[in-house]
């Protein structure tokens, strides 16, 4: 005989049947039946956050690090609206999260009841899909569909809005969790079109100046091994987008670094002069293309993406392939291995192409030896801090970031060896993302080193979670690149507004971060010089602080800019390389 459960119990049971380990959430009136169901079970651990936005970022960080959907539970009204920024963040970066929001009872919907907001309506533009539960009996089916939709195809956030009456503990229903789900209107594509794959292989084997350009789709699609195999077989240069870092080993000579607005000189020049772009799981974002009219003027373009709407959205494509990156890359590799000789006919051209790339790299590549450099007045440089963290962690950490200069320095100087290690808000650019995202990662991997590289501006957007870290003893390492300003805003004001720093500094209004984190029971360390930095960083990642949250407040040169930086309206090759050195 099947069990009879209340709607609230069915919801939690369904999450358990879906394999959920953690719920990141915050209680409130409309969600109280659900919270009582959580209280009466042991299988799923609920993590009590201090702000609903942070709960969504934690679930998002968890999802990005593990590949499994993260789960959020909030109440109606302000609980739901506070979750919106995190939902939009997940939507823009296509990460699978399931957000369950309490809703006022069905008979009060539309009456402007206390803590009522139209969650399905307010979240609609930033979700992959959403459900409003109409009856308790449909809860298991809705949960099954929500997880399937969130994690399949191009992943994304799914909202389940649950009116309070559908979780009433006094009304019980037969509980059956569906084994599988089939939706006639949703069939995510898998393998690529066979003819197009042959066309792609032919174009790849005939290219003289090829570049492999890959994005977050390779990370999300677990296609890194296939990408590396294809790239090795071809021997072509590889560049990653901000979202794609780690898909190809960051310290590999075949890797050109990140491309785009703050991409490397060699990556951007190679893209601009290429005759073939092999784009995989990337979406030609405006932070990559710069001016689309001047983008890669000589290149034919192959574009592989699971989402047909990403293809030919910004840039016309010569060989579009709709399909899952992992499957399509494996299919391409199979054709390459059976039909292409060990030495490609274009080998001489590719050798010459590599020589050209190596010259670009030698002329203006990223300066990975900052040891002789000092900022103004002998101050610490942000690049040096990232590099010290890279050395101390052996490249083996999970690194999250917030948004701004520190994010770009981390992307440029921390060389990610594998996918899912670099977690940042690329699409929406959400300040306040990094710290809670790191918490989600640490819950997923309690024994791994998790670093949040942030700036004081971003950190202050969600620093209330220091309390959550205290409650759950999370040993995150926070690296705060403190320039006492909104650095990227200030940089743009330096470059485009004649140095008028409108609302981008707050030098005299910052807390003593070390004391502040200490008041939450954490360890705070302040450094202002390279010597201090080098003496404390190995300690931070050593045994001494293994179980502590450490906040490194690194006071850096406030005037440092991120370079290279693309010139607005130009082609990819048009970059400013330094304060004194425009191209």
């Amino acid at each position: 005989m099947t069990e009879r459960l209340s709607g609230g119990d069915m919801l939690i049971r369904a999450l358990h049947d879906e394999g959920v380990e953690y719920i990141f959430g915050y209680p409130g009136g409309a969600a109280l039946h659900i919270y009582d169901a959580i209280f009466r079970q042991q299988e799923i651990e609920h993590i009590l956050v201090r702000h609903e936005q942070a709960a969504t970022h934690m679930a998002d960080g968890y999802a990005r690090a593990t590949g499994r959907p993260g789960v959020v539970l909030v109440t109606s009204g302000p609980g739901a609206t506070n979750a919106i920024t995190g939902i939009a963040t997940a939507y823009m970066d296509s990460t699978p999260i399931v957000v369950i929001s309490g809703q006022v009872p069905t008979d009060l919907i539309g009456t402007d009841a206390f803590q009522e907001t139209d969650m399905v309506g307010i979240s609609r533009p930033v979700v992959k899909h959403s459900f409003l539960v109409r009856a308790a009996s449909e809860i298991p089916d809705v949960v099954k569909k929500a997880f399937y939709i969130a994690a399949s195809g191009r992943p994304g956030p799914v909202v389940i809005d649950v009116p309070k009456d559908t979780t009433d503990p006094n009304e019980r229903y037969e509980y059956n969790y569906p084994a599988e789900v089939s939706l006639r209107s949703y069939k995510p594509s898998s393998g690529g079109h066979v003819g197009q794959i042959r066309n792609a292989v032919r174009a790849l084997s005939e290219a003289r100046r090829p570049v492999i350009y890959t994005g977050g789709g390779v990370v999300q699609g677990e296609a890194s091994a296939e990408l590396v195999a294809v790239a090795r077989k071809l021997g072509y240069p590889v560049t990653n987008t901000l979202m794609g870092l780690g898909a190809f080993p960051g310290d590999d000579p075949q890797f050109l670094g990140m491309l785009g607005m703050h991409g490397t000189y060699e990556a951007n020049c190679a893209m601009h002069h290429a005759d073939l772009i092999f784009a995989v799981g990337a979406r030609f974002d405006d932070r990559v293309t710069n001016n689309p009219a001047k983008f890669c003027p000589e290149a034919r373009i192959i574009h592989v993406d699971v989402d047909p709407a990403s293809i030919a959205k910004i840039i016309d494509v010569d060989i579009p392939i709709v399909g899952h990156c992992k499957v399509v890359l494996a299919e391409i590799l199979a054709v390459l291995e059976t039909e292409i000789a060990d030495t490609l006919d274009n080998a001489d051209d590719v050798t010459a192409w590599w020589q050209r790339i190596d010259r670009w790299r030698a002329e203006h590549g990223l300066d990975h030896d900052q040891s002789e450099r000092r900022g103004a007045g002998g101050s610490l440089l942000p690049q040096q801090v990232v590099q010290a963290v890279y050395r101390a962690t052996g490249g083996d950490a999970y690194v999250t970031s917030d948004v701004g200069q520190h994010q770009m320095f981390a992307a440029q100087y921390y060389r990610f060896p594998e996918p899912r290690r670099w977690i940042n808000s690329g699409g929406l650019g959400t300040m306040g993302f990094g710290f809670p995202a790191a918490m989600g990662v640490q819950f997923a991997f309690p024994d791994k080193t998790v670093v949040c590289i942030t700036g004081e501006g971003s950190f202050m957007m969600n620093m209330q979670e220091l309390s959550t870290c205290m409650q759950y003893s999370l040993p995150i390492k926070i690296i705060n690149l403190n320039n006492q300003a909104l650095g990227m805003v200030k940089q743009w004001q330096d470059m485009q507004y004649a140095g008028r720093h409108s609302q981008s500094t707050y030098r005299d209004a910052l807390p003593d971060f070390s004391q502040m984190v200490a008041s939450f029971g954490h360890v705070g360390i302040k450094v202002t010089t390279l010597e201090e930095l080098n003496s404390v960083v190995p300690d931070i990642f050593g045994d001494r602080y293994r179980n502590d949250l450490v906040f490194l407040d690194a006071h850096i040169d406030p005037d440092e800019h991120v370079y290279p930086m693309s010139i607005k309206g130009g082609a990819l090759k048009d970059m400013v390389l330094g304060k004194e050195e425009p191209t």
Binding site: P125, H129, P308, A309
Partner: protein
């Protein structure tokens, strides 16, 4: 270029708002929109007209297809199709103009479906262009009220939109 796009979608609460929301959020224009359940009550059929070049229409159809509740999308204007719209128009018809309005209505094969001392209400079916031509043929000062259904469309012959 004007396009007529037909969409089959799940007949569920909220599905229509996703379609309309998509057009707003992606800055696409909707000129007309009609929707009603089909012979299969689990499905609604929606017809909308919009303006755009090939690239824009390709994006519109792709993004429509991306909506979970959208089952099929069909650009009717890609091939032979029928287009119909129904209009009810209330026209001042008194004295000398009464006969004139009746004659114009007959020329356009309209039907007068409601009459009182001062007005005729005329029903007219056809492609949107014919409806516009009828309004143009009337004296503007006579037109009291106009209601148009928006365009419905169907492919000719073997061009079929179904599950």
């Amino acid at each position: 270029m004007r396009r007529i796009i037909a969409v089959l979608l799940e007949n569920e609460a909220g599905a229509l708002s996703r379609v309309v929301g998509l057009f707003a959020q992606r800055n696409y224009n909707i000129e007309t929109l009609t929707v009603a359940p089909t012979e299969d009550p689990t499905l609604s059929r929606l017809t909308l007209t919009t303006e755009g070049d090939d690239g824009k229409i390709e994006q519109i159809t792709k993004h429509l297809n991306r909506l979970i509740e959208v089952v099929r999308v069909f650009d009717l204007t890609e091939g032979d199709h029928l287009e119909r719209e129904i209009m009810m128009i209330k026209v001042r018809a008194d004295g000398a103009t009464r006969a004139e309005v009746k004659r114009t209505t007959d020329i356009f094969r309209g039907q007068i479906v409601d009459v009182n001392q001062n007005t005729y209400t005329i029903q007219l079916v056809g492609p949107s262009g014919k409806l516009a031509a009828f309004i143009d043929a009337l004296d503007r000062n006579q037109v009291v009220e106009v209601v148009r259904s928006g365009v419905s469309g169907i492919g000719r012959g073997d061009r079929i939109l179904s599950l």
